[in-house]
Chain length 193, copies 2
């Protein structure tokens, strides 16, 4: 995409994130998103097929960036323990700093149709695979027990992280999410050894 | 409620569970539920205000029974370790044996409005509190480390269990859920000590 086009595409996604976080997916008409982005309604259709397409693109771009960030950070770690801590830090820090994204991923995402959820599941998959890879690395490094059920454990870890974020949001963000990293990682690391 | 009335109330809830599991909450018109229950549309309104009310009642009755089952089973255990294993066993066994309930709790529940989710959250709360109580008992019994963050850890455990059930459903129930109990409990117990 040429840079002018890319800029508009980005502006629409950023506007959609804000509008969906404030009004819910069902209450976010294309016209509202266009108004927030400062473009004509028709312009949206130059970039996206429909509202579902905006939501999927939003996940691809924003969660895609998060997964890239995870992958980058994990590269700089030496052990699986450090990698797992990095993952937890980024997961909690990024969503704490980007409440709109947190709201859309934890609440709106879950309200979408099964079809949409399958599409979004594909975006989340590389993250689950990264956790799997870290667990494999940990077994290889003889840090984690060799009978660890990796396919099951990656779900236990992902589900645990996910629930902490959702609960923090629903409870009105009354405490710091990033302050939960140490105790969360401690629980995981003991569980893995 | 008189027993005839109670019977009809139960029949409508059972029909609603089946219809919602097959058609999704949004695709489950009152008329479909009435047909499945073998009653007139108007009869539904003698028992429920609207479709939302049916969904909330369904959760109160079915999840309520599950929580009662959890509480009963935990009474027969001597240690927090045994209680946690019981919770995990019941969670996985009951949802494996009642796929409609699993589908409605894991998929349809998440698609409902924030208002509905708050109501449903109240039904789930006693379950989260039971996990909290087991963790407290474990610390008292000196089985779990005394610096355990109980409020955080109950979320880690609930989220982990929840994710395993959702993933099992979405992947098309290709494996046994109850076969995951041992490895799941092992991860938790190591994490707690």
């Amino acid at each position: 995409m040429a840079s002018r086009k890319l800029e508009k595409y980005e502006m629409i996604l950023e506007a959609a994130l804000k509008v969906i976080a404030e009004n819910g997916f069902h209450g976010s008409q294309i016209s509202k998103i266009a108004k927030e982005a400062g473009v004509a309604d028709g312009t949206i259709y130059l970039y996206f097929k429909n509202k579902e397409d905006i939501l999927i693109s939003l996940f691809q771009e924003r969660l895609g960036s998060l997964v890239a960030l995870f992958n980058e950070s994990v590269k700089d770690t030496n052990t699986a323990d450090e990698a797992l801590r990095k993952v937890c830090e980024i997961h909690f820090n990024e969503l704490e700093q980007n409440v709109n994204l947190a709201y859309v991923t934890q609440i709106e995402l879950r309200q979408s149709s099964l079809e949409l959820r399958v599409a979004i599941g594909l975006v989340v998959k590389p993250y689950i695979q990264l956790i799997e890879h870290i667990l494999e690395q940990g077994v290889e490094q003889q840090l984690y027990r060799k009978d660890l059920d990796i396919k099951l454990t990656r779900l236990l870890i992902f589900g645990a992280l996910d629930e902490v974020v959702t609960s923090w949001l629903i409870s009105g963000r009354k405490y710091s999410l990033s302050a939960q990293v140490d105790k969360t990682v401690e629980f995981f690391l003991k569980g893995l050894k």
